[in-house]
């Protein structure tokens, strides 16, 4: 086996081990679940409201968007955060000191984060199925759509997470990115159909993968009639695939450049300096 293939396989092992660490840690699980859990509770209380122009429950309509947003959040933000934390504690430098260690490290990181994001989608879906009427989870076509949207969505957002993780030197810095993402979530039709927003805002929302992730998941889980509440009265699968694909492509081109730049700058003294700064913060 070539050294590269060996490193990829080691990366698979790393992904499995880190995925297991996350799914057996209550704290980690909560950090992936808290947003959908809280959102589900709120939407359950609003379940009697209906989507404008239809008799459909606004609560049910919001479930796919909430779960989609959580995939973006858990995939992108968590990857960015763990990259910065791994730089602080020397995990990344360890990867650099190992032959082809970066290949294995990134493979493992991306896989474990993707796995965690999928858990953050599927687990809240179980109570949601019982609490909200009208989700079409019994149909094979729903799961087919869900699979390709989530897969393509992850390929679109994980590289962004890697780029953010490479850009920010500290976990705090990367944490600030959460703020604009929250803002983006409020204009992306997660909780309320985008078609009732002003048109310029619709254009802004449609530039980002978050909207398309939500739209794709709504198309998977909601009855076809609900397409009427969307822009253009359509699920726009073609546009969804195109937009997520463009983001994925851009990310996959940029992320390796950024990651290489980040790795090049890593050394023992940079880790020590960062830790020194971190210690001063906590004092």
């Amino acid at each position: 086996m070539s050294p590269h293939a060996v490193a990829l396989r080691a990366g698979l092992q790393r992904g499995r081990i880190e995925f297991r660490q996350t799914t057996t840690s209550p704290q980690d699980l909560w950090s992936v679940m808290f947003f959908p859990v809280i959102a589900l509770v709120v939407m359950y209380m609003l379940r009697d409201n209906t989507v404008p122009g239809t008799g459909f429950s606004l609560g049910t309509q919001s479930i796919p968007g909430i779960l989609g947003a959580n995939v973006v959040f858990a995939g992108m933000m968590m990857l960015a955060l763990s990259l910065t934390m791994d730089r602080e504690d020397g995990t990344l430098l360890r990867a650099k000191a190992t032959p082809n260690g970066m290949v294995g490290y990134l493979t493992g990181k991306v896989l474990s984060r993707a796995g965690t994001a999928v858990v953050g989608l599927l687990v809240p879906l179980v109570p949601a199925a019982f609490l909200f009427d009208g989700l079409r989870l019994g149909e094979a076509s729903a799961w087919l759509t869900l699979t390709w949207v989530v897969a393509l969505g992850l390929v679109a957002v994980l590289p962004i997470g890697a780029i953010l993780g490479a850009l920010f030197d500290t976990a705090q810095g990367a944490g600030f990115v959460g703020v604009p993402i929250m803002g983006l979530m409020s204009i992306s039709g997660v909780f309320y159909p985008l078609s009732s927003f002003p048109e310029w805002l619709q254009w802004v929302a449609q530039a980002f993968p978050l909207y398309w992730m939500g739209l794709g998941l709504r198309s998977a889980m909601l009855p076809d009639a609900m397409a009427a509440a969307e822009i253009g009265d359509s699920w726009r699968h073609l546009e969804t695939a195109a937009m997520l694909g463009v983001w994925a492509l851009a990310g996959l081109v940029l992320a390796p450049i950024m990651l290489r730049r980040m790795a090049r700058r890593e050394s023992g003294s940079t880790v020590a300096a960062r830790r020194h700064k971190a210690q001063q913060r906590t004092m």
């Binding site: 086996m1 070539s2 050294p3 060996v6 490193a7 396989r9 080691a10 092992q13 790393r14 081990i17 660490q21 840690s25 791994d86 504690d89 020397g90 995990t91 430098l93 360890r94 650099k96 000191a97 190992t98 032959p99 082809n100 260690g101 294995g104 890593e266 050394s267 023992g268 003294s269 880790v271 020590a272």
Partner: protein, 332 residues
Amino acid sequence: MLRGRRSLKVSNALFNDKLEGMNAGENGTPAIATRDLRMRYGTVDVLHGVDLHVGQGEVVALLGPNGAGKTTTIEILEGFRRRSSGDVRVLGVDPDDGDEAWRARLGIVLQSWRDHGRWRVRELLDHLGRYYAPYGTPQRPRPYDTDELLELVALSDRADAVIATLSGGQRRRLDVAIGLAGRPDVLFLDEPTVGFDPQARREFHELVRRLAGLEATSILLTTHDLDEAERLADRIVILAGGRIVADGSPAALTEQLSGKAEVRYSKDGERHVDAVEDATGHVRELFAKYGENIHDLEIRRSNVEDVYMTLVQEFESGRRTEAPSELAEVAR
């Protein structure tokens, strides 16, 4: 055990020959060779032309106070930092151009890692070892067997422990085990015993000596502890103010730094203290003259530490920029 203590440093001429012949073949290649290595951060020069040479299987201690440039030197050799100028070869390769196959031959133990806290000891060793498998040779199978490695650093009973729960000394031994996972040709140890209690320090010293004998691994370690350097190294290189100020075997350095030896003994119930150049000859004479009447014999080369400290202080305060005359011999 350590191999025979080597005496004074190779001359400059010999060194140059080695540098030129470096790509001649595996066996002739020194583990580490630098010539006129310089490092400058902004306007501050950290290294002012360091000539360092580590032969195959040699254990060399880079000794010096904090801020002398030890870590900078070692990071340049590891390929983690780009030098400002000078020639550097590690295993015959310029670290700035080192590829993954080159990296596979190095073992790196930096100061205080705290990574992979959630992993288990055996899990991490096994995982990191995998990357080295394609680089094994019949003479040097890679990676090291995980259980053997655990045995070597005395962590077998902690194999399934979560790394964050290890004590400081155990964590450090794990770091060394990771550094050895690829059965390296060259091992870098940066301040390996900082924060150790005396017991842990002694155990660690035994481990390093065992390694050097076991695998013919070249070891470059940094320390600011003279005693540690004397215990571990075949050769000590003293770095102060970004310059090498002395380079030689511990015995040679001790002789150069301490000058006379103190011979203490009692004869006919009376205590004597003689300060002499040649302690062995003096004692031989004493025995020849007085035979059984000599008791409580003790020989000390005193003040090595004092001389070292003075030397370091002078370099740090900038009062001195050249090696002192008595050391120039050693350094040249």
